[in-house]
């Protein structure tokens, strides 16, 4: 009897353990994976919802291209109202805000870099891995640059080493505490990441949602421009345009329709858009008449970008072909950057050549008269106006104002609500927005001064 039982017990164990390891190794969900192959890594980098479509809108919200009427302002929630008037606190909703979105992009990039390091020996395809890392560096550098624009004071060589910048998270460990590094550290890191990416990004990509070499040069140009290193900014804009220089002739568009600018058109070098926030929702953000009046009647952008709403105008010119705002890199932006840099370098004619090249695609056929200027200063003023007109609602205006004020332009922003005037003076500490209060509470980081 005992033998039978022993046999049974042995049988039982054998049956239960047969293939046990394999059985327990099966994936619980076929859609799950760890990041181990090139395909996995590319799939994560193609997560456009996280990496391309949640950029910060503050560059537009805090700028002067639009206004809200008193009644519309009063109908907004407290955060939106605070944001609109550059309040010193509570302008970001807790937990889910621009900070969350930017650092989620940083984290994805860091996880990819970690996965590349972990799997490099197994994958054994250095070219492919370099291409993957390059994309991750691109997204990380870009995210740091976007964060610096919002939460740190404008870049100034004299103060960049001392003023607080942003936390620079360079690995995926969420337990690591956040500390703010200097503004200089921040820009250096953004440049380093983007330069690393430029080296290994491909010349041609299947979709502008993926970064290309041109996109990396375009981002480098943006960063140097913000640092007011106009030589480098101009050179990178030039490098970018070498890869892609096609322009969209606005004469080919049906500009009267609701959203006339085609999505992913030939000017788009890198595709991204902002996460919309209350004040810049299409129907609320009325166009600043100063901006509207800047467009010549023959400038097709006047009709393509704006439509009447009551006695005012609203914006319809997003390259997203919808109400969400495009903030990606275009050939037109690069031309304007190159033009500005040349003008600042005293190369008036070259600067105006770039400008006129662009504008002939913007004016009604047969009406365009090339712009002329006698001095580099005059050229610069024209180019700055054209920059504002071309890049309206690209979430760039406020960054340009920050930069211009560093150049001494002395632009004071102001809003009037129910008769009360709110001002943002040049050199104001309000140019570094308050970091979300809950981030400060949880990390113990230093808040921006007021």
């Amino acid at each position: 009897m005992n033998n039978r039982i022993k046999y049974f017990a042995a049988f039982l164990v054998i049956i239960a353990m047969t293939g046990c390891e394999k059985f327990l190794e099966e994936k619980p969900d076929q859609k799950l994976a760890t990041i181990t192959t090139i395909r996995d890594m590319q799939a994560v980098l193609d997560d456009y919802a996280t990496l391309n479509y949640t950029d910060p809108a503050m560059g537009e919200v805090c700028g002067d291209n639009y206004y809200m009427t008193d009644v519309v302002f009063n109908a907004r929630d407290e955060y939106d109202r605070n944001l609109y008037v550059w309040a010193s606190a509570n302008i970001f909703k807790p937990q889910y805000n621009a900070w969350t979105n930017i650092y989620a992009q940083v984290n994805v990039a860091n996880n990819i870099l970690q996965a590349v390091a972990d799997n490099s020996t197994i994958i054994n395809d250095n070219d492919a891995l370099a291409g993957i890392s390059a994309q991750a560096y691109f997204f990380r550098g870009r995210a740091f640059f976007n964060a610096l624009g919002i939460w740190s004071m404008p870049y100034n060589k004299a103060t960049a080493e001392t003023l607080p910048g942003i936390p620079l998270r360079l690995n995926a460990d969420f337990n690591e505490p956040s500390t703010r590094q200097s503004i200089a550290d921040g820009y250096d890191q953004a440049l380093a990441d983007l330069k690393k990416s430029a080296q290994f990004l491909p010349d041609v990509v299947p979709s502008p949602t993926r970064p290309s070499k041109a996109a990396a040069y375009g981002m480098l140009s943006r960063v140097y421009l913000q640092m007011r290193d106009y030589i480098a900014a101009g050179e990178y804009a030039d490098s970018c345009l070498r890869f892609q220089h096609r322009l969209l002739d606005y004469n080919t568009l049906t500009i009267t329709v609701n959203f006339p600018l085609p999505h992913l058109n030939e000017e788009v070098i890198f595709e991204s858009r902002v996460a919309t926030v209350g004040p810049i929702v299409q129907s609320r953000a009325l166009i600043n008449p100063v901006l509207y009046d800047m467009y010549h009647t023959d400038d097709l952008r006047k009709l393509a970008f704006f439509r009447a709403s009551g006695t005012s105008y609203i914006f319809k010119g997003s390259y997203q072909a919808g109400a969400t705002l495009f903030n990606g890199i275009t050939t037109a932006e690069m031309l304007l950057t190159r033009a500005e840099c040349k003008a600042r370098d005293g190369k008036v004619n070259e600067a105006l050549d770039d400008l006129n090249l662009l504008l002939q695609y913007r004016y009604r056929t047969g009406t365009f008269v090339p712009t002329l200027a006698t001095s580099s200063l005059e050229a610069l003023e024209i180019i700055k106006d054209e920059r504002r007109k071309e890049l309206a609602f690209r979430s760039m205006r406020w960054l340009d104002i920050k930069r211009y004020n560093e150049e001494g332009d002395g632009i004071t922003l102001s809003r009037t609500i129910d008769g009360k005037v709110y001002k943002l003076e040049p050199q104001s500490k309000g140019y570094a927005l308050p970091i979300p209060e809950d981030v400060i509470a949880l990390s113990g980081m230093q808040q921006n001064e007021r």
Partner: protein
């Protein structure tokens, strides 16, 4: 009454009885020797006894076969061979038989007296007085230590409160030895023989890692050996009345129109009105903007609407009376070698909104003794359930922002369906008529064009083999379960859903013609789900007595796999007559007809596959001496294919230990009419949440429309420190019986300590992983008692009265929390855990309320000073000490109370359920919601309006622009917290037993029952007469059932 029965009985029998040798006999209770009322059958003739058990019988031929039956007694069959003077028949009460309850834990069947753990056994007779389609909903009214948490939409069963804070909280449901994987609605309640609740560790730890929240073991009916063919059936019809919509705290139309007019005057709607995407506006706003109307015309129109209440139309034109029908037929039989049982059940439910649910269940159980020590059993079940959507109800029909304005009209004066505003302005949509298909939404008739049908087939096969040899018992069990679900959601071409998508993607050309990128026609969403579960268990049992020593043990291994496949697809341009479908391009963005904004056509294609595999080893052993002292131990190890977890962490050992002492065996004086048993147990169970993984994991999404390749998002982040949750439970219990078991019951005290509980820990989201992260962050402790008392208050011949009381307490508190905040606002949210050491896991805190000031502003306290700084009050200003603590958000005392009164064959059962010792936050007017999304509340009429109102109201004044913090402060203030104690009338059921009355119809036995359920509250401690389980949501409607149960 009794006399009537007596007379009828006599009439039935009188003709057949010959009067030769009349003798006097008596039927008595075997224990008390008192006479009882009984019926004596001789062949086909029945003779009733009198109240004292005496009856006379004329004996013609000997021997005579007698069958003596009495209510609540075991029938006695005897051979009357000779007559020697007065003869007394002793009947044994049935209750004595029920005491020998055999408990099924899913792994073994043991007698209740041998148990060391805390269990509750619920026999089928306890379930029969309720009529619901599913079985689990019947438990709340009759079980002990079980409560239903209605803060979730479905209502979640908890046994003995919480064992986990953020981990899985579901109770494990076991049907016939194995966890049930299909929908629990597939189980026909008439198939259920018994339900066992396993409450403490000694009882449940054999189920391992999934048993941390308790186990409910359902055993289905089986045939019996040596039993003649039996057929029984039941029919019940349950009428469900219309719901009471007027308990909903809806804002009055007049108030609502006033608010809209005011906001209009403030320009609130201006940006929406100017918006070129034509967002919807309510009729009041459209009217106010309408330049064609004179001010007096506008006023006149608004005044007309002030008298409307949309609930009137819902009541008269939408809701109806529902009917649930249930039919069941069962046959069983058996001889020495085999037994069988077959059932067929059919349910057809039509609810208040005409939604249909039809279920057919078939079951066949067979048990065969192949040889002296070898038996095989099998059980095959099949369930088919079909459901079909009905009309849209009060919460489903919404206009803007998911809300419905109270003056909405579903029909015009002539009864034609009226359009209700949705995404776009109605008068703008009217201008499109003729160019496009009608773009308006008609809520009353839209349901005619939407068909949501679900067809579910579930098949289960259990096969078991049992070989016995000298105390050993080898068992092999296998269960296969397959469930196939098809969900067909057809939106006809006339449905709003289809018209909306078709019109949205209509592309106008310059010549005025229109091309349709989504072809005109209907849309169909098809979803298929397929579930396959395989369970294999090999088990060795040993049971042996050596004199006074009794040894029992089992050991086994189990392998279980669960595979879920799913797919879904959306067809466009569906022509239902011909089944033609059209093609669309999902890869490009197209401009919207109205807004011009570009978007993708909303396709819906996906495939899914999940697999859950488990391997377990388990065993238990018990030893008893003289059937008086018991010791029990169990151990189990589980492993599963958790993703991204190293092998060592996959295995989790769990164990338990139990002791019991049958005191009455040692103290003989107790034996006479009393019993006493003491129990104690301790053990561990655990929780592993499969979604919490240790490695950074990505989930593949669909194809990116940009790169045309799959893209993936990171869904879990490297989290190496995560451990299993463990729950240690100590249980001390007493089972007792007194006064000949007139009073019996059990008392259990338990203490649970749970540690390493998962929690969402707020982290600095600069880390990029989002604002919270799951960590082992807390420990909690729970303790409570379960008291179950059954008493037979009145016994005897006529009137009988029995009472069952279940009384439970459960208090939990956080003993350790990785506490990060002293900010008051972090503890006050609704429905979130409190995480404050020493306080219940779900606590109700509120802001202290200083009433209203003279401008109608609510006053809070900052450092004990009155304040109206709402940003500070709701933000960083209030610290924990500024808050008022009310108590637990979950009931701390709960249970039920059932009385059964019977008089002969008539019985009345009344079941009450109660919950005490907790608090809830009632709904009120929230100005943020009122302005932001148009959600009103009747408390608006109580708001502060004029100086002096602050003396008699706590509802703040309406202010615009809305101060969100002020609105939030009021919402979370102490004036909206109410005690939730209440007493609910669960059901009332009246039944009448007819026996041997329908011989001609072949019906042996029949029971008629009337049942009323969802009867509402009897008492509640809050002054506002609010139902804490259903505050400002629709209560389940009262239902009345007529049921017939019969045996052939």
């Amino acid at each position: 009454m009794k006399k009537i029965f007596f007379m009828i009985s006599v009439l039935f029998t009188i003709a057949a009885v010959a009067h030769s040798q009349q003798k006097v006999f008596r039927v008595v209770d075997a224990d008390s020797k008192k006479g009882i009322t009984a019926v004596v059958s001789v062949g086909n003739n029945n003779f009733p006894t009198d109240n004292n058990g005496y009856f006379k019988l004329s004996i013609v031929n000997r021997p005579v076969k007698l069958r003596i039956q009495a209510l609540n007694y075991i029938p006695l069959d005897t051979l009357l061979s000779d007559y020697n003077g007065s003869l007394i028949f002793h009947l044994r009460p049935v209750v004595k038989e029920i005491e020998e309850v055999v408990i099924s834990t899913g792994y073994q069947k043991i007698k209740q007296e041998q148990l060391t753990g805390s269990v509750q056994h619920i026999g089928s007779h306890m379930l029969e007085n309720q009529v619901s389609t599913d079985v689990l909903s019947r438990l709340e009214a009759i079980s002990s230590g079980l409560s239903v948490d209605r803060s979730t939409a479905q209502g979640r069963i908890t046994i003995r409160g919480l064992s986990s804070i953020n981990g899985p909280k579901d109770v494990l449901i076991v049907v016939d030895n194995f966890p049930y994987d299909g929908n629990l609605e597939n189980i026909n309640p008439n198939d259920v023989e018994s339900i066992t609740l396993l409450k403490d560790a000694a009882a449940s730890s054999i189920w391992g890692s999934k048993a941390g929240n308790g186990v409910i073991v359902i055993t289905t009916k089986k045939g019996k050996f040596n039993q003649d063919l039996q057929i029984q059936g039941s029919i019940n019809n349950n009428v469900i009345s219309k719901p009471n919509l007027y308990r909903l705290q809806q804002m009055s139309s007049s108030d609502y129109i006033d608010v809209e007019s005011y906001l209009f005057s403030q320009g609130y709607y201006q940006s929406a009105y100017d918006d070129p995407s034509m967002p919807g506006l309510t009729p009041v706003i459209e009217t106010l903007y309408n330049a064609d109307l004179s001010p007096s015309e506008k006023e006149e129109r608004l005044d007309r609407w002030r008298h409307l209440d949309v609930r009137d139309e819902f009541k008269n034109k939408v809701y109806g009376v529902g009917l649930n029908q249930q039919y069941n037929l069962q046959a069983n039989g058996g001889n020495r070698r085999y037994n069988w049982l077959a059932t067929a059940g059919y349910d057809r439910n039509r609810d208040n909104l005409d939604a249909l649910y039809a279920r057919l269940t078939l079951r066949y159980a067979l048990e065969i003794n192949l040889a002296k020590n070898l038996s095989v059993d099998m059980n095959i079940t099949h369930a088919n359930a079909q459901s079909k959507s009905g009309k849209q109800g009060y919460t489903e029909i919404t206009a803007l922002n998911g809300t419905l304005y109270p003056y909405a009209q579903l029909t015009d004066e002539d009864g034609n369906a009226m359009p209700l505003v949705q995404n776009y302005r109605l008068n703008y949509l009217s201008t499109l008529d003729g160019r496009l298909a009608d773009w308006k939404y008609y809520p009353l008739t839209d349901c005619l064009f939407n068909k949501d049908e679900i067809n579910l087939n579930n098949t289960g096969i259990n096969v078991g083999m049992n070989y016995r040899y000298a105390g050993f018992d080898v068992q092999a069990l296998y269960r296969m379960e397959r469930q196939q679900t098809t969900n067909e959601n057809i939106y006809d071409a006339q449905s709003y859903f289809a018209r909306d998508i078709v019109n949205s993607f209509a592309q106008p050309a310059d010549d005025g013609s229109i091309s349709y990128l989504v072809p005109q026609g209907g849309i169909m969403d098809l979803q298929n789900g397929y579930l396959l579960a395989n369970n294999l268990r090999l088990q060795l049992n040993y049971d042996k007595r050596f004199g006074s020593h009794h040894f029992n043990a089992l050991a086994g291994a189990e392998r279980r796999s669960l595979r879920n496949e799913s797919n879904s697809y959306r067809y466009f341009g569906l022509e239902t007559n011909t089944l033609n479908t059209g093609l669309v391009d999902l890869t490009k963005r197209y401009p919207h007809y109205i807004t011009g904004s570009n978007s993708f056509i909303p396709g819906r294609q996906s495939l899914g596959l999940t697999r859950n595999n488990f391997v377990s080893f388990y065993g238990n052993a018990s030893y008893s001496y003289r059937d008086t002292y018991f010791i029990y131990a169990s151990a189990r190890r589980d492993a599963s294919n958790l993703f991204g977890v190293s092998t060592n962490n996959k295995w989790k050992p769990l164990w338990s230990l139990g002791l019991a002492w049958n005191v009455d065996n040692d103290l003989p004086w107790l034996k006479s009419g009393a019993s006493l048993k003491l129990r104690a147990s301790y053990g561990f169970s655990g929780n592993a949440d499969p979604s919490r993984t240790g490695l950074t994991t990505i989930t593949y999404n669909t194809v990116s429309p940009f790169t045309q390749s799959n893209f993936a998002s990171i869904t879990r982040f490297y989290n190496p420190d995560l451990r299993w949750e463990t729950v240690g439970t100590l249980n001390i219990g007493v089972d007792f019986g007194l006064f000949d078991r007139r009073i019996s019951g059990s008392f259990d005290y338990y203490r649970k300590r749970a540690k390493d509980l998962f929690g969402f820990y707020p982290i600095d989201y600069t880390s990029g992983v989002g604002p919270t992260m799951v960590r082992n962050i807390a420990s909690m402790e729970g303790h409570g008692i379960d008291l179950r008392l059954e008493s037979r208050n009145l016994v005897g011949n006529g009137l009988q009265w029995g009472t069952i009381i279940n009384f439970s307490t459960n208090r939990d508190k956080v003993t350790d929390y990785y506490d990060v905040s002293t900010k008051g606002g972090d503890y006050i949210g609704t429905g979130t855990i409190t995480g404050l050491v020493g306080k219940p896991v779900y606590s109700v805190f509120s802001y202290r309320y200083g009433g209203l000031d003279q401008q109608g502003n609510p006053l809070g306290y900052l450092n004990n000073d009155l304040s109206t700084d709402y940003v500070e009050l709701t933000g960083n200003g209030s610290s924990l000490t500024d808050l008022r603590y009310h108590g637990s958000a979950l009931p701390t005392v709960f249970g039920n109370f059932t009385n059964r009164l019977s008089y002969n064959r008539l019985s009345l059962e009344v079941a009450l359920a109660y919950k005490f010792g907790y608090y809830f936050r009632r709904s009120s007017i929230q100005y943020t919601n009122l302005v932001g999304s148009g959600r009103g509340h009747s408390d608006y009429s109580l708001r502060w309006q004029n100086t002096g109102d602050e003396m008699h109201t706590n509802v703040p004044s309406f202010q615009y622009p809305v101060n969100d913090s002020r609105s939030l402060f009021y919402q979370l203030s102490e004036v909206l917290v109410e005690p939730a104690d209440h007493l609910r009338l669960q059901y009332v059921s009246l039944s009448y037993q007819l026996e041997n009355k329908f011989k001609n119809l072949c019906i042996r036995d029949m029971r008629i029952m009337l049942n009323a359920s969802n009867l509402g509250l009897l008492w509640t401690s809050n002054k506002k007469d609010l139902d804490p389980d259903y505050d400002n949501v629709l209560q389940p409607s009262k239902a009345y059932a007529l049921a017939l149960q019969f045996k052939f």
